[in-house]
Amino acid sequence: MVSGVRQPFLDSLAAVVLAAGLALVLVVAAGRLESARVGAAEAEARMAAALWEQEGGGADAVVGLLGARATITGADAGGAGPGPAAYAYEAGELDPAVWIAVAPPPADGPRDALPVTAIAIALAGLTVVTGWVLARRRGPTRTRYPVSIALLSVGCIALTAVAAGRWTHGELRSLSAATAAQGARAVQIALAAGADPADAARVAQLPWAQDSSLDSPTEQWTMPAAVVAAIAASSERDVETSAGNDAISLDAANAPAPTAREADAGARLIAPHTVEAEGATWHVARTADIHVALLGYERTASPALALAAAGGLAGLLVALGLHLAQLASRPRVLGRTLAAWGLLVPAAALIVAFTLGPLLFSLWISLHEWRLIDPAPLFLGFDNYAALLSDREWWSAIGNTALFTLHVPVAMAIALALAILTRGSRRALRWARLALFLPGITSVAAIAVVWKWLLSDQYGLLSRGLEHAGLGSVPWLTSPDTALASLMIIGIWMVVGYQMVVFQAGLAAIPRDWYDAARVDGAGPWQRFRHITVPGLRHTLFFVLVTSIIGSFQVFGLVYVMTQGGPLGATDVAVYHIYREAWEFLQFGNAAAMSWLLFVVVFAATWLHFRFLDARRAHG
């Protein structure tokens, strides 16, 4: 009808939506980058201030140092290029005359990569629009959201991710080099001011305070090349070295040199590690560099991730906008679509907040070292996973879990037998079913407590009963040989009722005709079981098997209440191991990595089962 009028309108609407998406990407990315820079610089300033404080005011003065007392006083001090080039920090209440300058990052990485990202996103958006227009032109009757646009949206997301990756790489390199240099310089300041490096590090909460090799003054350490280069690169501009003594003054734009301290600072006397660069003498602590470099790496990874996510989000938004624009010509469909999404929002929000969010958080945590009390997780990459591969205790826990899972087939066999035996509507059978089902709906903690009491060596009902029968007592839960088996027996007792009910539902779904036909065909009870019941229950059996195995891999309550993983780690199962790692040893990164490894194992098992089932279904 009015397609001639409507078409340009839709096109411009799509363009506006696209532009909004692009702007969102850029704003988010720029904001993240800026905050990361400020954050990194702030961390440097804190450390430097802490080091300074160690020299001047003592350990207790450090408390509360961070935050209010450190203020940014200059944003464009270096004048070396566009954008913020240097930050100066004033450690306010300590000494009004003290200024610490932080050198600007080298101006290569991000500035090169950022346009690439923007171009990539713009290109992706352009392809989306083009694809959409083409799809519209191909047939006016075809008003459904075409697949090609969905594919293009995916392409847009992928392109953005790639660009973000590239950008990250450049940004990462420059930032780590810069922070390494800053860290080195901060340590230098402290050393020049006469602080003991180990003490300074401890006050600044740096891990290398525990590095015992620092105590060895004779050892020769080598600075990382990046640090040397960074120092060398920035020395010409930033630092003046007085020829007479080795005191260092920092020449940031408005910052006066700390002349009051200069006389006392006998750097040559106390500095344990020195490097010659550009004719000047630099004092460096190696481990600090590494740590600070890591800190920088961590802080750089997140804006890149955010950028990639924002790119994806923008892609989705564009797709969404196009979709809605297309639906605008069909108000009823549009209304239905909006209503459907409106109804989906609460559930989706819950899933994102309580399922997807924690899931991603745990994945993120698994890449870090985090003890809950740390201010910021330390990025380790895949170190946690790598360490787990050779962690014997972890694999022992996995082995225990696998062993425990062997109770599943036994329980299923018993449950199937019970399901067949207790079929029917007679009163006694109904009571039997109820009794068998009860453990399944009882609290695990209650069950565990009762069983613990029953199985106790000294006053346990079972042990005393066996003794009375003259069979001698069994150390149910106190021997490494029997503890896991005891738990397996209780596990069987717990799940059999539930499995039985599921099996009965499955049995009821098998048509009686099949049994009749088999009887006329001459099949006896066993053959009917084998050829009718088992194949008819195939899906039920599979369902119970998979859910039981997953449940078995997640066993926790029984172990927690009854054995606490003992004796001698015989019942230390995976989830309990993870729990202890997180809440007893406060190794959350490790625990998260374990959780993900466990997930991979369970997922693989389930997937194999599905494949197996599919194969059977396909080939008979």
Partner: protein, 380 residues
């Protein structure tokens, strides 16, 4: 089938009764199915015909009475050992087995040697045109193909008695007709005893050598299709068999000892206080309004037995169904030749072929003898 089948086994029921608790599913009954016969059990749903079939198969146990198959009493014999094969309404194919394994399952359960089993499966599949489908599963077959597999599963065992439990009711109309013919042909070829359960009286009459009509757990009549149609033993059989259904009118004894109702006054054949007159639609002859003498089929009177108003005419091509209206004959239908010219609203004269009419007593039983109009029978 390679081997020419042995003649079928006779099936004899003596006083067989089935109760589920207090509910009587089958009242005690006697029934004999002769060797090689195709007997159809027909009746409305819930009449007990399927229960009777399951009793013969051994899937149900009778409360009392005896079941004999091939001269052997089988009440204590397992279904698999009764020398019967059954085709179910749902076909009851084993869904996880291929067609070949479905066909061979019964033989396998009996420990038939593998070579023989494979040969017989192949022969049966060839006979039914299932050769291409042997490696498929039931889920991949059409309704008609499944039906043939179910048939093949029964055939492959070469049983003494075939039992069919409404095997055609899940097929569409065309396929049902074709399969019905196939089953009839199969019966001619194999000569095996077959007991076929259906609720469709047309199917029963067209397929059965003899038909057993059942209602409410009771055997109503056993006879050839012609007997059942032409000489229904009681009112239920008369009403159940035939389409469109037989026309009926209740008659009461008047003060002159005649049976009267609607337009009819009949000479009472005996001391009946009331009775029901039943006439099949094809035994009514309708004369068009223009014809002075309303008779086409050599009826007994010149001017017709009664006059009625035409309510509606169904022109079916090969025949016309004339729906009549009048006191006591409101739902009557007459069959007429397509040549007859009538339209709704016409007054027509209708003759009754009394030789083919039926009179049933107050208990529903057939009264022997031909109903006759009394001397002044035609009232209007």
């Amino acid at each position: 089938m390679g081997s020419v089948s042995r003649a079928g086994q006779g099936v004899v029921l003596r006083g067989v009764e089935k109760r589920f608790g207090d509910v009587v599913a089958l009242e005690p009954m006697d029934l004999e199915v002769r060797p090689g016969e195709l007997m159809v059990l027909v009746g409305p749903s819930g009449c007990g015909k399927s229960t009777l079939l399951r009793l013969i198969a051994g899937l149900e146990e009778s409360t009392s009475g005896e079941v004999w198959i091939g001269g052997r009493r089988v009440d204590e014999v397992e279904p698999g050992a009764r020398d019967v094969a059954m085709v179910f309404q749902s076909y009851a194919l084993y869904p996880h087995m291929t067609v070949a394994r479905n066909l061979g399952f019964g033989l396998r359960m009996r420990g038939t040697p593998r070579a023989e089993l494979e040969q017989r499966v192949a022969e049966t599949a060839a006979a039914l045109g299932l050769g291409e489908l042997l490696e498929r599963k039931p889920g991949q077959l059409s309704g008609g193909q499944r039906q043939r597999v179910a048939l093949g599963r029964a055939m492959v065992r070469d049983p003494g008695v075939f039992l069919f439990d409404e095997p055609l009711s899940n097929l569409d109309a065309e396929l049902r007709l074709r399969t019905r013919d196939e089953i009839a042909a199969l019966h001619r070829r194999l000569g095996t005893t077959m007991i076929f359960v259906t609720h469709d009286q047309v199917e029963a009459l067209s397929l059965g050598q003899r038909v057993a009509v059942m209602d409410r757990g009771r055997l109503q009549q056993v006879g050839t299709p012609a007997e059942v149609y032409r000489r229904p033993g009681n009112l239920f059989v008369a009403g159940f068999v035939g389409s469109p259904p037989i026309n009926r009118i209740p008659l009461f004894r008047d003060d002159r000892g005649r049976l009267a109702g609607g337009p009819f006054v009949l000479a009472a054949p005996s001391s009946l206080s009331r009775a029901t007159l039943a006439v099949r639609p094809e035994d009514l002859a309708v004369a068009g309004p223009g014809e002075a003498d309303g008779d086409a089929s050599g009826g007994s009177t010149r001017t017709g037995d009664f006059r009625a108003t035409v309510l509606r005419v169904e022109a079916l091509g090969s025949e016309q169904r004339v729906h009549l209206d009048g006191p006591g004959i409101a739902a009557w239908v007459a069959r007429a030749s397509p040549a007859l010219r009538v339209a709704s609203g016409d007054r027509v004269s209708v003759s009754v072929d009394w030789e083919r009419s039926h009179l049933f007593g107050p208990d529903g039983r057939r009264q022997e003898g031909v109903p006759r109009p009394a001397e002044q029978g035609v009232s209007r």
